[in-house]
């Protein structure tokens, strides 16, 4: 329900700020890497952490202008990497590969002609390859808050190169962790750096 409220809020924000704008659709595709903080912190004898390795990530977005310096954007991303397990700081195997899909509604504002900020609200879904251990009973959808910066370098009227930084925050827990006695959820921050291009309908 919390997730629904946040997505609904993002929709209302975008709709409330909307002005007639049928043109200037901007499509952006970026490829980069995303790093994450630990999904699980435990201690049996020594501290145990489950943390995704650096994940190759594809970022896609489509935006429309909603004000003079403001765009509403629908953002999607997908990245996958290994969920590494460390014990006492040493490698202790892995929990298989872990995909992370996000869908978010964003507002994008201009800082200067080439630099823009973005704020996002959306959802994140982890997709583990191994349905065992902490992922035995699946992973619930998580609400997501994101922020980012884009630097655009125009190549033509329509095409620009884009360097993007993406940060997002969500909370992680699973049914298996709750059944094992974990209370609450783990704060997870992710940071991505990506390079790509955008195309703008004139």
């Amino acid at each position: 329900m919390q997730t629904f409220h946040i997505v609904a809020l993002a929709g209302v924000l975008a709709a409330g700020a909307a002005v007639p704008a049928a043109a200037q659709v901007r499509l952006t595709a970026l490829v980069g890497i995303t790093g994450s903080s630990a999904l699980v912190k435990d201690q049996v004898i020594e501290p145990i952490e489950v943390k995704p390795a650096l994940a190759p990530t594809l970022f896609l977005s489509a935006s429309l202008p909603v004000a003079k310096t403001l765009r509403a954007s629908l953002d999607l991303s997908y990245g996958t990497s290994t969920a590494n397990i460390t014990e006492g700081g040493s490698d202790a195997g892995d929990a298989g590969s872990l995909g992370a899909f996000t869908a978010a509604a964003s507002l994008v504002g201009a800082i200067s002609s080439r630099l823009s900020w973005r704020l996002s609200l959306g959802v994140l879904q982890y997709m583990p390859s191994d349905k065992q251990g902490i992922f035995a009973d699946g992973v619930p959808l998580a609400a997501l808050f994101g922020a980012g910066l884009d630097y655009q370098h125009p190549f033509s009227d329509r095409w620009s190169g884009v360097l993007g930084i993406r940060y997002d925050y969500h909370r992680f827990s699973t049914s298996a962790l709750e059944a094992a006695g974990f209370v609450g959820s783990q704060q997870v921050s992710r940071l991505g750096l990506a390079l790509g291009a955008s195309w703008t309908h004139p």
């Binding site: 809020l9 435990d42 004898i45 929990a95 609200l121 191994d130 902490i134 922020a147 827990s173």
Partner: protein, 215 residues
């Protein structure tokens, strides 16, 4: 809507999402699992490099299915892949050998024997530390056998419980407990792992082992 207002909404949303981190469980209560062979206390768990543990099962009285279920039961006790096992067709390369029948008499005098007796069937797991106390001789041998004619009596629950119990021994749970709710109770009745079984299995799998598996 101004940028300032948007930033305020975003900050409030972030604040609503954030609070303290999760709290990990204490992994208690648990029970003593180590094998005490005075003056030593022996602890064993399968090294990560040997996972999945290779188990050969005699194809009799539906035992392969019972062992598969027992593997799944114990696998579910772990969060970080500490245990996994597969059935193999070659008993010579197996880490654990499960036979349907009583423990051979000649083995009793030379090895430690973990015996359990559930009404209807019995089980034994041989923990062979004959070479040195700090080496576990592979394969670990398990014996499950009916006390009554399986054709006359439904022993499937008995086999399921006893197999899970004996597989627990092969994980390193070398002692019996005094709580009837534990699968590792000497005469087990529980049809599922208790919290104590799960906690103990988790702790033993991270406890420094002083028994090394050897062939």
């Amino acid at each position: 809507m101004t940028v300032r207002r948007l930033l305020t909404v975003a900050a409030l949303s972030a604040g609503a999402l954030s609070c303290s981190d999760s709290t990990a469980p204490t992994h208690t209560p648990l029970y003593e699992w180590r094998l005490v062979v005075a003056p030593d206390t022996l602890s064993f768990h399968w090294p990560m490099s040997m996972l999945p543990v290779k188990i050969w099962v005699q194809d009799s009285l539906g035992m392969p299915a019972h062992v598969q279920d027992a593997i799944a039961t114990w696998r579910s006790a772990f969060l970080y892949g500490e245990y996994d096992a597969v059935l193999v067709s070659d008993s010579l390369s197996a880490d654990v050998v499960v036979r349907v029948g009583p423990l051979p008499v000649k083995a009793v005098a030379t090895v430690g024997q973990l015996h359990t007796m559930f009404p209807g069937c019995e089980g034994e797991t041989v923990v062979d530390t004959a070479a040195t106390r700090f080496q576990l001789q592979l394969p670990v041998r398990m014996y499950i056998h009916p006390k009554y004619d399986p054709a006359q009596t439904d022993l499937s629950e008995c086999f399921a419980i006893t197999t899970t119990h004996e597989l627990g021994h092969s994980l390193g749970l070398f002692q019996h407990t005094s709580d009837t709710l534990d699968i590792m109770y000497a005469q087990p009745q529980a049809t599922a792992l208790s919290v104590r079984d799960i906690n103990t299995a988790q702790v033993l799998s991270h406890w420094p082992a002083n028994m090394i598996p050897t062939r």
